[in-house]
Subunit: 392 residues, 2 copies
C-alpha cells in the first residue's frame, strides 16, 4: 500500500479528479483518474469491473447518481492508503481517446467569434451576425471518426480551394490551416427519440468537459460551405484532451452567462446558473498567443443540449458537442488565428517571426483552468497537435 | 430439410439476396438474407457465427473478398436443400436496422434537385446552382442516432421557424414537413486517417445500397441553415430500408453518369462506369406521386466517397452516405414535395385531395427496382414511415 500526497494548490488535486483512459506498455487500456501526476486505475482502486475497459462509456451510461457515488468513493479511497499496483506515474503511461464518440455537433456559441467572422466575410453588413444567431445556438454535425486524442499528429488536409480571382478551383494541401479553441461537452446519458431534454434536465445528462481544437482549413471551407455548411474544411481532424473534467467538479466555476437579448424562446430559458468561468490558453510553438475566456460565451451548454434535442432527435452516451471557437472581446482573447491575425492582414509575433496560418511542424497546445472550491483551481490537461506535411 | 423455390421473375431471387437483421419473437436478432418472401438465417445456413449478431457490421468489416465468397456460398446453399430451422417467412419476423451507423453524410448530388432548390430560393440568379456545385459533391454530416428502420413512426418535429414577415421566430411543430427520396451507400471497410480512398478503389470499400428517406422540416431548415447548414430541420429522423442490396448484385445496373462539365479535378475522375440505373417510386398514402430516376444523378457514389476522404478524413465500417434528393428532369420525377408542389404553389392530387406538405397520419413509402442479370430485376424492400402528431 502507498499514500499519495498531492498539495492543495495542484491543478489535479481532490477538487478535480478528471477521468481518462490509459495503458502501460503491453497491457490492455483501463479507466484511470488523474491525481496530481499520478494516474490511479479505477478498476483496482474501487474493485469495479466497470472501469476495466478502453472507454468511459460504460461508466457514463450508468447515470448521474452513479457519477456522484463514484466520485465520493474515489475521494475517500485516495485519502486513505492505496494499493501500489493501482498507481502509475503520468509520464509512464499512454493516454487514449477517453470516450467512444457517438454523434458530434459543433456549435457557434461565441458572440465575439461570430461577429468577427461576420465582419471579415460580410463587410458592410448592418449586423455582422446572421438574423437567427441570437435566437438559437447555431450548430452543425461533424465527423466523429476524426476526433483524436491530444498528442496525435495532424496531417495537413488536401482539398479544393478557389480564390475569387481564379476561373476554376485547384486541388492541393491547404494553405490556410487554422485552429479553433473550444470546449467539448460529453453526454453521459442520452434521450430516446421523440423525448427532448429540457434545459432544466441538462445537468442530469452532462458528464464532463474536454478541451477541443477544431482544426480548420479556411481555404477549403470557404469554397465548399455554401449552401450546406462546412464539411472537408473541418472533417480531417479534431483534437480532444485526454482528461474529461467531471461537471461535478465545476460547481465553483459556475457564473452567469451574458445577458441574452432579445429574450430567448421558453424552451431555451435557463432555470439556473449555467455559464462556466474557464480560462483557456492557446500556445503556438510554446508561446502564448491568446487567452480566450469561456465565461464570455453567449450560449450555455444546457441551451445547446436542449436545442439539439428539441426536435425529438435522440442523443446517446458518448455524444460530444463543442462550443465553437471561444473568443473574448479583446484581440488577445481570440480563439482562431483567422480572427487573431484578421484574416492574415495582421500577423502575430511567434518566437520573433510574424505568423498568420499554420506551417508544417507547428505545434498548438490548448490548456485551461477553472476555479475549484476553497480558492483552488482545476486543470484540464492539454489538447496538443503538431502539423505534419501532406504528403507525409 | 426443405427446398426453396423462388421464380426467376421475383424481385428477391438469386440475383439479389439483400442482407438484413431480423428476429423472431423471443429470440435474439440475427443476420438474414431475403430470398423471395423467405428470410434465411445466415448463421445457420452457412454455419458461421459472424452472422449470429444484431448487425451486419462484423461481416462488412471482413472485406470484399469475404463478401464475394459469402455471396457465392449463399447461392450454392440456397440452390440445394436448406435446413428448415434456417428459414422464416417474411411476415413472421421483425426487421431491425441492418447496420450500426458510424458517421452519416448526406450529399446533394442531383443536378435537377439542386437546380430546383436554387430556382425556388434564389429566383433571378443567373445560375440556380452555387458556383462550387459542378466542381465537388456538396455534402454535410447528419445525425447517425436518428437513422431508423422502415416502419418506424416519425414524430412531427418541433422547432423554431420565422416567416420573413414576422418580427421574431415562433416555436412549434413543423408546418412544412417534407420527404427526400434518396439512396444510401454503406461503407463496408473504411480508411485510416490520412489515407484517402481513390475513386479507383471505391469498389473495394462499398458494401451495399439502402433506400433512404431524409425527412425534412422546411420551415425549421429555412430559419436555421445560414451560415452553417441544416441541423434540426433534418436531425429528427431518417428512414432506411431493412434490406441492404449488395453492390455485388448491381453489376447489371451499372450505367454511365451524365457528362460532367466542366471536367472534374483528377481526384474525382472515374476510371469505370459508376452510375446506377435504379428506379425509385414514391408513394404518398398508397398513391404513386413520383418516380425519381437514380440514373440521372450527376455525382456517383465513388466520387462521393473519394471526395469525403480526400482531406484525410477516416471512414469506418458502417459509415453511411446518402445521395441527396433524387430528382429527374420531369416534374413527376421530383423526389421532394417542396419541388413536386413548387414550394406549395402547385398542390398534387393524393387520393382526390390537393396536397402540399405532410399531415399527421400521412404515410410515405419509397420503393425501388434495378436491372439484374438476364433480364431479371432486383427489389430494394421499402422505406416506410408514418407521421405521428407532436405532442403524440
Amino acid at each position: 500500500m502507498t499514500t499519495l500526497v498531492v498539495p492543495t494548490d495542484d491543478l489535479y488535486g481532490l477538487q478535480n479528479l478528471p477521468y481518462g483512459v490509459y495503458s502501460v506498455p503491453g497491457q490492455e487500456p483501463g479507466v484511470g483518474v488523474r491525481y496530481g501526476d499520478h494516474v490511479v486505475d479505477l478498476a483496482r482502486l474501487l474493485n469495479d469491473e466497470t472501469f476495466a475497459t478502453g472507454s468511459l462509456n460504460p461508466f457514463m451510461a450508468q447515470g448521474r447518481a452513479r457519477w456522484i457515488a463514484v466520485r465520493a468513493a474515489i475521494i475517500e479511497a485516495l485519502t486513505g492508503d492505496v494499493a501500489a499496483e493501482a498507481v502509475h506515474e503520468l509520464d509512464a503511461v499512454v493516454l487514449h481517446l477517453p470516450i467512444e464518440v457517438a454523434d458530434y455537433v459543433d456549435f457557434y456559441a461565441s458572440e465575439h467569434h461570430a461577429s468577427n467572422m461576420g465582419r471579415l466575410f460580410r463587410p458592410g453588413s448592418a449586423d455582422p451576425l446572421s438574423p437567427n444567431w441570437r435566437h438559437l445556438p447555431i450548430g452543425y454535425h461533424g465527423r466523429s471518426a476524426s476526433i483524436v486524442v491530444s498528442g496525435t499528429d495532424i496531417m495537413r488536409p488536401a482539398g479544393q480551394r478557389k480564390d475569387p480571382a481564379d476561373a476554376a478551383p485547384v486541388f492541393g494541401p491547404s494553405t490556410r490551416l487554422d485552429i479553433e479553441a473550444e470546449l467539448g461537452f460529453v453526454v453521459g446519458t442520452g434521450n430516446p427519440m421523440g423525448q427532448p431534454i429540457p434545459v432544466a434536465e441538462a445537468e442530469e445528462h452532462l458528464f464532463g468537459v474536454v478541451l477541443f481544437n477544431d482544426w480548420s482549413a479556411r481555404d477549403i471551407q470557404a469554397w465548399e460551405y455554401v449552401p450546406l455548411g462546412p464539411n472537408l474544411g473541418k472533417s480531417f481532424a479534431c483534437t480532444v484532451s485526454a482528461w474529461v473534467v467531471p461537471m461535478l467538479a465545476l460547481q465553483a466555476a459556475k457564473v452567469s452567462i451574458p445577458v441574452q437579448k432579445p429574450a430567448v424562446l421558453p424552451y431555451l430559458a435557463l432555470d439556473r446558473v449555467w455559464g462556466l468561468d474557464i480560462e483557456i490558453v492557446v500556445e503556438w510553438n510554446g508561446q502564448v498567443v491568446s487567452r480566450p475566456p469561456y465565461a464570455s460565451m453567449y450560449w450555455s451548454p444546457a441551451q445547446m443540449l436542449a436545442h439539439l434535442t428539441v426536435n425529438g432527435a435522440p442523443t446517446r452516451t458518448g455524444d460530444l458537442f463543442a462550443s465553437g471557437t471561444i473568443s473574448g472581446p479583446d484581440k488577445n482573447q481570440r480563439g482562431a488565428f483567422i480572427e487573431l491575425t484578421w484574416n492574415g492582414a495582421e500577423p502575430v509575433d511567434v518566437n520573433g517571426r510574424p505568423r498568420t496560418f499554420l506551417e508544417d511542424g507547428d505545434e498548438v497546445v490548448l490548456r485551461a483552468t477553472a476555479p475549484g472550491p476553497g480558492g483552488t483551481r482545476l486543470g484540464f490537461g492539454e489538447a496538443r497537435g503538431r502539423i505534419v506535411p501532406n504528403p507525409p
